[in-house]
């Protein structure tokens, strides 16, 4: 167990260090997120009341697109020079590698969301009429739901042609209940339309179920060759 934790954090630290050294990828993702927000704002330009109804959907669709861009580069460094083989040949547990990558993606996607959310608030003049603090668990659970399956399917896509399209193709159908939960919860909280508790619980269930599935099955797909 301790080796799982130490290898997870060693891998995460290495990834953050490498990402920091060449900030190109993160910078271009940040700019892409900004573009997505701007384009959405041009395409959907309603007045205050309507915007609160659809903002939930808009924000999460925008996050989803930004997340896919981030997720697609999850394994890029490990595939160059086939470093993934070095990991597979070692006794290090596959789950540690998965957790490190998922956590790294979580940090990265949260960063993108932290940029995009204020912009949405500004462009759409949003104000939460419901208990705004509930937006935090929605954001955290929702982001983890996308990232945990996204990291897993990104690893599966390694063994396919058309890698970049394979990831969203696998991720979107499975994510439907999670996306619906995020969107509904956000809509309810922004419009002050009752309690988002059911959706938050559903998101939590989704996260628990799929985190377990990913940890259990990651070794299987990592060693699939």
């Amino acid at each position: 167990m301790s080796s799982l934790r130490s290898i997870t954090f060693a891998t995460l630290a290495k990834d953050i260090r490498l990402e920091w050294r060449s900030r190109d990828a993160v910078n271009s993702m940040l700019f892409f997120s900004l573009l997505v927000v701007v384009i959405f704002s041009f395409s959907f330009d309603p007045n205050a009341e309507e915007s609160r109804q659809i903002a939930g959907g808009l924000i999460w669709v925008a996050f989803l697109f930004a997340a896919v861009v981030a997720l697609n580069q999850t394994w890029a460094r490990e595939l160059r020079n086939q470093v993934l083989d070095a990991y597979r040949v070692s006794p290090a547990p596959a789950a540690a590698l998965f957790l490190a990558k998922a956590l790294g993606n979580f940090v990265l996607v949260s960063l993108l969301e932290a940029l995009m959310a204020p912009l949405f608030v500004i462009f759409y003049n949003l104000r939460a009429l419901g208990p705004a603090w509930q937006l935090i668990p929605v954001a955290l659970l929702g982001t983890w739901a996308l990232v945990v399956n996204g990291t897993f399917f990104a690893a599966m896509s390694i063994r396919t042609r058309s890698r970049e399209i394979m990831l969203p193709l696998l991720l979107f159908p499975i994510s439907i209940p999670a996306v619906q939960s995020m969107v509904e919860a956000t809509r309810i909280l922004l419009a002050g339309d009752g309690s988002a508790r059911f959706w938050i619980v559903l998101l939590l269930t989704y996260d628990v179920v799929f985190t377990t599935a990913c940890l259990a099955l990651f070794e299987t797909i990592l060693q699939a060759e």
Partner: protein, 246 residues
């Protein structure tokens, strides 16, 4: 053993199923009484619901076959998995096409986010992505990846149900197929078609499975064959260099 028996009986079973289908169609389109409010369009019900049932059964078969494959690595399980997925997608497509055809004249809308239609759509999406994964994966371990995806899909289904169910309590929408009890004569035709479609689905799946298995046997034989006669590249001696470097 069972497979051998089915193989021998297949032509008879196929003919029987075809006859049942014809009979079922006749019952559904001609004999069954016309529904009071919806009219003849309601007869789609005899295709719509049995197709959904057959599709779900086939996907369940895919799930079991996938789990068996992951545990036992039995190639026949994988052949069954791919066959049931393909045929299941076909039946799901029928559900998704007949749903709007039914809904439009009756309720005036093409689509409604009702439980059956929406969960069929999500299942259809998941299994189309399953088939795309199988086609685009060039790894020798494609069956493993596909089996894992099938398990993820199965885990997703109850969550899809809950989220749609709760969504509908917040946003009530018409239910395609309606509630209420069925006239006994309609019930009889419905059950007949339910049974017929199940047989039909099972037959097609079995046939596809046999095709898949035969194809794999051909591939394997070809693989071993092709190397009994080495190509020119293999006939030359290995290159030996006296010093280092190329």
């Amino acid at each position: 053993m069972i497979a051998g028996t089915v193989k021998r009986l297949f032509p008879i079973l196929a003919v029987l199923t075809a006859l049942l289908l014809a009979y079922g169609t006749y019952q559904a389109l001609v004999v069954a009484p016309t529904e009071r409010t919806m009219g003849d369009v309601q007869r789609i019900f005899y295709y719509h619901v049995p197709s959904a049932w057959t599709g779900f059964c086939l996907f369940f078969t895919n799930l079991i076959a996938s789990i068996v494959y992951l545990i036992r690595k039995n190639p026949k399980a994988d052949a069954l998995a791919v066959s049931s997925a393909e045929v299941g997608v076909v039946f799901c497509t029928i559900v998704l096409v007949t749903g709007p055809i039914w809904a439009r004249p009756v309720w005036g809308i093409w689509w409604t986010w009702d439980l059956r239609l929406t969960s069929t759509l999500v299942l259809w999406l998941i299994y189309v992505s399953y088939l795309v994964l199988r086609r685009f994966s060039d790894s020798a371990q494609t069956p493993v990846l596909a089996a894992v995806l099938a398990i993820f899909g199965a885990l997703d289904v109850p969550l899809v149900y809950f989220s749609i169910w709760f969504f509908r309590t917040q946003h009530p929408q018409p239910v395609i197929g309606g509630g209420g009890s069925l006239d006994p004569r309609m019930l009889h035709v419905f059950l007949l078609n339910l049974f017929t479609f199940s047989c039909f689905g099972a037959m097609v799946c079995w046939w596809r499975c046999r095709l898949e298995w035969l194809q794999r046997e051909v591939d394997e034989a070809e693989a071993m064959e092709s190397l009994l006669e080495p190509t020119e590249a293999r006939l030359s001696k290995p290159k030996v260099t006296a010093g280092g470097g190329r």
